[in-house]
Symmetry: C2
Subunit: 107 residues, 2 copies
DNA sequence: TTTATATATCGTAATATTGCAATATTATAA
DNA sequence: TTATAATATTGCAATATTACGATATATAAA
């Protein structure tokens, strides 16, 4: 074998793992950073910003969109991508819970 | 080609991507959850808890340790793994910054 | 309609991850 | 020393990811 046994884990664990996988590549981190920096968020800008070819960036954008980390709306010939605050909240909340549970522990 | 062009991105982006990659598998999410749930954290327990073979879990633990998400101290024949609060803080802070930047934006 | 621009998809090669049996290592107990 | 227990490493097969050239699609402008 070799593929992930995701069927053996809880829905919650799989959901969080999927979110983190979407953020597990420096290009996708850079895309999120860039979307936060600019006001108009057009994919063409990102192609000029990152050292990757257009199809590769399109793939990374699709990965982020698929994980609901960004959402895109068609704007003429371009597509305006932006960050989905709900997903950011969900991830941040996950770590808030972890930190809270850690409060009463030590090693 | 095909491998990640991590050399082309900033240290910060690579660092965050490495952290998220360590959390991008449901087994590793489950391990972190389990370490939060129990007081004595011994690898043998995790082997009984998850539907994976011992070498596989050992690998996942190594991945988490390598990313500084957990740390282990030798305790006789066993190893006591526990969560590294500093790394949790670092990740949580990353999302805090994102949410703060999002405050003044909308799509 | 034709052309140009922006983005997506296909096909494919290179590389990385996942999982486990077998085996090695390390520390305690007898 | 010899066994036993816990964890790590090795080797390898199955699968997934990454990257990009070529091509397709879709919208806008001429």
């Amino acid at each position: 074998m070799g593929a992930s046994k995701s069927g053996s884990f809880s829905d919650k664990d799989n959901e969080m793992a999927t979110l983190f996988k979407a953020l597990s590549h420096p290009a996708r981190i850079a895309i999120v950073d860039y979307l936060l920096k600019v006001d108009t968020c057009i994919c063409g800008d990102i192609v000029n910003e990152l050292p990757l070819a257009q199809p590769t960036i399109s793939q990374h954008l699709a990965a982020l969109k698929n994980a609901n980390i960004i959402k895109g709306t068609i704007e003429g010939t371009a597509i305006c991508y932006c960050i989905n605050p709900d997903t950011i909240d969900k991830i941040e909340n996950h770590f808030g819970v972890i930190r809270h549970k850690l409060k009463n522990k030590c090693c």
